[in-house]
């Protein structure tokens, strides 16, 4: 064997590693003073609004969360109409796949009071609450969003993290409840059934969103997800842990449970109403269940982050999507709960069947069952999230 050189020998690796360790220590000592807090204040991080001169808007949203033309999937009718109407050029990107992941992407900029290059971002309640708490979100001018003030569903008004309804405006809402595939299992009514029924063993998934999964479990224990104690949380968590350890729960998922549910690889799950409605459209044996112990109501909210330079343009868009006719058009495509009053009437004109669907326009009975998860402060969030993550395996 000819070895004309020793590219990297064991000894070389060792000395090199020690050398690099020394280098790292040096580099580390440069960063040795720690980091500053990420907290921003309105006074400390002032954003400029260039909407007057720039007819532009960067809108970051989740995939498939915007209506598209059935014939030409590159067209987005409601958004195109806004562009035509206002002359504001909208750059629409579908780059939010996960609240945590997106937070990871933008947190460094926002903590340093730098631009994220996005004027509107759409995030779920708890993440919205966290960002608002950190002072990373701009306040909107109520005068510029009259439709919101007029048409926002009453159950979504004055939520604890945005008491004035001028920081985070719901884009779509949804319910987290139970779902099952009637082709492979019999009817499912309660959370306890999901977690214990032997025929479902290994065919159950739950959501990796702590608030949705834990909210349903708290409810099933008779506790209020909107107001619970640490002990109650631990109770619910123990229940979950048992189901994980016994192999009842196969997986914790994001949206990716939907294809598996449709196929029957999983028989039942904790899932979101919007997905399940879509699946029901294909196969009516796939059903969404709102257990009597309660369902979790959540919203994905439009927000204008700090240093976004087109706040007025953003307000124009938000206001536009709170026109009932526009909201109906959007809801007809995405099938989540429409947060806009009066959209149901508009929907009658588009698709009466959808207008009658309580999972898009929930009735009083369903709304009375729905809960919003308790607002957590940073310490609680970290504690509960840490415990939850430990149970779900990471």
């Amino acid at each position: 064997m000819r070895t004309p050189l020793r590219p990297l020998s064991r000894r070389g690796l060792l000395t090199g590693t020690l050398g690099s360790a020394a280098l790292l220590t040096m580099g580390g000592s440069l960063a040795g003073c720690g980091t500053n807090g990420a907290q921003q204040t309105e006074a400390g991080c002032v954003s400029e609004d260039l909407s007057g001169t720039e007819k532009k808007l960067a809108f970051a949203n989740w995939p498939q969360y915007m209506d598209v033309d059935e014939k030409d999937e590159s067209k987005r009718p409601s958004l195109d109409e806004f562009i035509t109407k206002t002359g504001i050029q909208v750059t629409y990107t579908e780059d939010i796949n996960d609240n945590n992941e997106f937070f990871g992407k933008v947190q460094n900029q926002l903590a340093a009071c730098q631009s994220t290059d996005r004027d509107i971002i759409v995030l779920t309640d708890w993440m919205a609450a966290r960002m608002i708490r950190l002072g990373w979100i701009q306040k909107l001018d109520p005068a510029n969003i009259p439709n919101v003030q007029a048409n926002l569903l009453p159950s979504l008004l004055n939520r604890p993290f945005d008491t004035e309804n001028r920081i985070s405006i719901p884009w779509q809402s949804g319910l987290a409840g139970l779902a099952y595939n009637g082709n492979v299992t019999k009817e499912l009514r309660t959370v306890d059934e999901l977690l214990t029924r032997p025929d479902l063993k290994g065919k159950v998934t739950a959501l990796s969103e702590m608030r949705d999964t834990m909210g349903l479990l708290l409810g099933s224990n008779g506790h209020d997800p909107a107001n619970f104690t640490a002990a109650q949380f631990d109770d619910a968590l123990n229940k979950l842990k048992k189901a994980v350890d016994s192999g009842q729960i196969r997986k914790f998922t994001g949206n990716d449970y939907a294809p598996d549910l449709a196929k029957g690889d999983i028989a039942a799950c904790i899932g979101w109403s919007g997905d399940v409605i879509q699946l029901s459209g294909e196969d009516e044996k796939v059903r969404f269940v709102a257990p009597d112990s309660g369902v979790m109501l959540y919203s994905d909210n439009m927000m204008v982050p700090n240093k976004a330079t087109h706040k007025s343009n953003a307000e124009a868009l938000i206001n536009y999507y709170y026109e009932p006719a526009v909201a109906a058009k959007l809801a007809a495509y995405v099938n989540y709960i429409c947060p806009v009053k009066g959209a149901q009437a508009e929907m009658e004109k588009i698709d009466p069947e959808l207008a009658a669907n309580p999972l898009i326009f929930p009735d009083e009975a369903l709304l009375s069952k729905s809960k919003v998860f308790m607002a957590l402060d940073e310490k609680q969030e970290r504690e509960y999230e840490g415990k939850f993550q430990q149970v779900i395996g990471a």
Partner: protein, 300 residues
């Protein structure tokens, strides 16, 4: 030995670099690449090293103070040793599988394929051009509970009627094996290709059975490729989390999943950083130990 080789007429030595003339040249050649790695890999890593010693009670909104909290390390070991063990266990298991599959493949391509050699080699490389995610999602389809494969296995009673492949340790190990197999095969192939088949004939001539010929001749001669391939397989496999996430259940989660969650979900940066460094240290330790056992000085 090397001195003899230098002057032996059989093996003219490479000409020694001329002192003076080229003293600066290697540094000039290295400069752009090394600077790139130092700035965009070394510096961030140094910052991360610092972060692993931050006060664990800090938080995002208040910031983290540097308290040289070496205790972060034992803390994460205590909390996550099962995932560490699992990572190396699965990666090791996948490695064994990959060796069983990859060695014959590399050997066949190198020694038996004749004019089909290039085509077969392309077949090993080409899957890497299709997105990692697309391929792993395809495995989900293949292993699905209602898929043909599971149906077949149930019919021949290799699986219980309610047995499954997806969301089991089997699926995770299979996914790891699949995704990193080319990294093992390619260096191994390069080594085996240089193997002179006459050596095997000589061995059989000297009363070695095929198995002995393999053990005494083929295996030792393919050692450099085997070592390189093993490392290139094992290192990324033990840090992987996508396979566990897509093909496993929480009970199969590996240390990569924990790091992922520490950084993205729990926002516990000191822990995340400490875990990352432990993982790297563990990998380096495994590499050292392995090299010692393999008795080779060459790494890559």
């Amino acid at each position: 030995m090397t001195l003899l080789a230098r002057t032996g007429s059989g093996e003219p030595p490479p000409s020694a670099p001329r002192p003076g003339r080229h003293r600066l040249l290697p540094y000039l050649l290295l400069l752009p690449g090394a600077a790139w790695l130092l700035i965009f890999f070394g510096v961030p890593l140094a910052q991360l090293a610092a972060a692993s010693l931050y006060d664990p009670s800090g938080s995002l909104s208040t910031g983290y103070a540097m308290t040289w909290a070496f205790g972060n390390y034992p803390d994460v070991v205590q909390a996550y040793w099962p995932q560490f063990l699992r990572s190396f266990g699965y990666a090791g298991l996948a490695l064994v599988l990959a060796l069983l599959l990859g060695y014959p493949l590399a050997y066949a391509i190198a020694q038996k394929a004749g004019r089909w050699k290039n085509l077969l080699l392309v077949c090993v490389v080409a899957p890497m051009f299709t997105s990692f995610l697309v391929r792993t999602l395809a495995w989900k389809t293949i292993l699905s509970d209602n898929g043909a494969l599971v149906g077949l296995l149930r019919d021949v009673h290799l699986l219980a009627p309610d047995g499954r492949l997806l969301a089991t340790p089997f699926a995770v190990v299979l996914g790891l094996t699949y995704n990193f197999l080319p990294f093992l095969v390619l260096p191994l192939y390069a080594s085996l290709e240089r193997l002179d088949p006459r050596l095997l004939e000589a061995a059989t001539d000297l009363y070695a059975s095929p198995a002995q010929a393999f053990r005494r001749v083929t295996l030792p001669l393919s050692m450099p490729g085997l070592v390189a391939g093993t490392l290139l397989f094992f290192i990324p496999a033990s840090g992987d989390y996508i396979n566990a996430e897509l093909l496993g259940t929480p009970n199969e989660y590996m240390i990569g999943n924990v790091i992922d969650s520490a950084f993205l979900v729990r926002l516990d940066y000191p822990q995340g950083a400490a875990l990352s460094f432990l993982l790297m240290a563990a990998i380096l330790a495994v590499v050292f130990g392995y090299l010692r056992r393999a008795g080779t000085e060459e790494v890559l």
